[in-house]
Amino acid sequence: MFNYRVYWTFTKKSFLRSSVYRFDVWSRLGSNIIFLLMWGSIWTALYAGREEAGGVGFEAMLTYIVVSQFLTGVNGAGTPLWEIQEKVRTGDIALELMRPFDIPLRYLFADIGSVAFYIVTALLPLYTVLFIFMDLALPTDWLTWLYFVVASIIGFMIRYCIEMSFGLLTFFLVETGGIEDIFYFAMSLLSGSVIPLWFFPDWLATIALYLPFQGIYYIPNAIFIGEIAGAEILVSIGIQLFWVAVTYMTLRLIWNRASRKVVVQGG
């Protein structure tokens, strides 16, 4: 039985807990701004005064980067990988297994709490100001906004499932450093978070299109600036849903193996 109340408690708790670590919030926001400055400068320099490149206008491209950096902030506020590794290392995971809830879901709901706190207190104020003062191409109809929000949320879930799956590898490997780096690389490049897929060499774009990462940043960003429009939007969201299903099933599979390992070997 799915008991909403239990999971909702985790969300509330982690929302409140986040307010205690204010230094954390500010430092995240600080580095988010610096990275925004960095990618904004890089794209300004790449366009080098041109009005458009590869069929995409400069204003739209800048918007892409700002939105992407916003979503990076959202996704970066949840830390399932780090947390689950800590639990496995300290052996606390065995304690959690005795509790009457599902662990991957418990972390998802806890994540939603801290992400919500970060969005409300830091990201929304900052990016509202940016959108007001910068020349950015905002969607004009509310439906695009809606699609963007939906695509972002699905993107968040995809990222969560992938990150959690990587985190669970801690159960099987003593040191996950190298694998983690591959994951972070894939997350930053193949997701289109800093370079949109249309600027990729064709072969790489093809690879990226067949991987789940594009669902995290590329699809919501492109919807926002209208590069994905019309019927394409629904197709893209369909692709995202497909990847949520696949990554979620992968996560469950890995989790089943991992938890069995704890039960059998005592962590």
């Binding site: 230094f23 954390d24 430092s27 600080g30 580095s31 610096i34 990275f35 400055l37 960095m38 400068s41 890089i42 300004t44 320099a45 790449l46 080098a48 490149a53 590869g54 003593v174 040191e175 996950t176 450093g177 190298g178 694998i179 983690e180 780096d181 591959i182 972070y184 690389f185 930053s188 490049l189 800093v194 370079i195 600027f199 990729f200 060499p201 790489l204």
Partner: protein, 266 residues
């Protein structure tokens, strides 16, 4: 002085042996670092696939810029990276052990760790140097090579100096690790790309306040013969001196912090 050099190698040797106890983790870290840096290099390549140039720097020039940063950062990890966690040492009381011994505490703390996993940085950056030198046909005269080495030393001192200053903050604020992640980590990422693309105040800041521009941008501009708008030509030659000055300042800040620690004990 000679005694300290000898002692440094003894202490550092112990550090290496300690690390080699975890061989698998050691190899994985090297693999991880090479992967991460290759990731950045690939990102640069994809970025320039369509655009060819970033602020008049082409792909190979950017790789060169990147490789200088990585190489000096590699030495920095070896020598100074553990400085950022001074706050933990102070909080759990282990820092006092450096103060009950008859040697300079800065030296003792510095020699405590020696992170050999920085081999990842060396393998990566040396590979890039060779590749880029061939692609760009850089003519490595002895003087040029010497200048590269000197500016690597400068870069190590600048980045090491910043780590030392960040660690000294722990003497006043009881925080240091977090300052690393807020200040230094983003700053390092910023300097992976030619400074010329950033707003003027950022360029100014990275040249004169936290002199990260001297880690790779200015020296690379000298070696590759690139222009550095807004700055005097060949300003890069100053890199080693900037490094020494910055590090000396950092050392005195650290010692000042230590004397404060001794009078407050917190």
């Amino acid at each position: 002085m000679l005694r300290y050099v000898e002692l440094y190698f003894k202490l550092v040797g112990a550090g290496i042996r300690a690390q080699l106890q975890y061989r698998f983790a050691f190899v994985m870290r090297i693999v991880g670092m090479i992967t991460a840096y290759s990731g950045t290099a690939i990102t640069m390549w994809v970025m320039l696939y369509q655009f060819q140039e970033l602020g008049s720097w082409n792909f190979y020039e950017m790789l060169f810029l990147f490789a200088i940063a990585i190489l000096s950062w590699g030495f920095c990890i070896i020598l100074f990276f553990h400085f950022r966690s001074l706050d933990t040492y102070i909080l759990n009381g282990t820092f006092d052990r450096f103060l009950v011994r008859p040697i300079n505490p800065f030296f003792h703390f510095m020699a405590m760790k020696f992170d050999v996993a920085a081999f990842g940085q060396f393998i990566f950056s040396i590979f890039i140097f060779i590749w880029v030198s061939i692609e760009l046909g850089i003519d490595w005269s002895f003087g040029k090579f010497l200048f590269l080495l000197a500016s690597i030393v400068g870069g190590v001192l600048i980045q090491g100096g910043l780590l030392v200053i960040i660690s000294a903050l722990a003497f006043w604020t009881t925080k240091s690790e977090q300052f690393y992640w807020v200040v230094m980590y983003p700053a390092r990422n910023l300097t992976n790309y030619p400074l010329v693309i950033y707003p003027k105040f950022v360029q100014w800041f990275t040249a004169f306040v936290i002199p990260f521009g001297f880690v790779n941008y200015f020296p690379a501009a000298v070696i590759l013969g690139k222009e550095t708008p807004f700055f005097p030509e060949n300003i890069g030659y100053l890199a080693p001196i900037v490094g020494i000055v910055f590090f000396v300042i950092a050392y005195y800040i650290w010692m000042l912090g230590l004397s404060r620690y001794k009078s407050t004990g917190s």
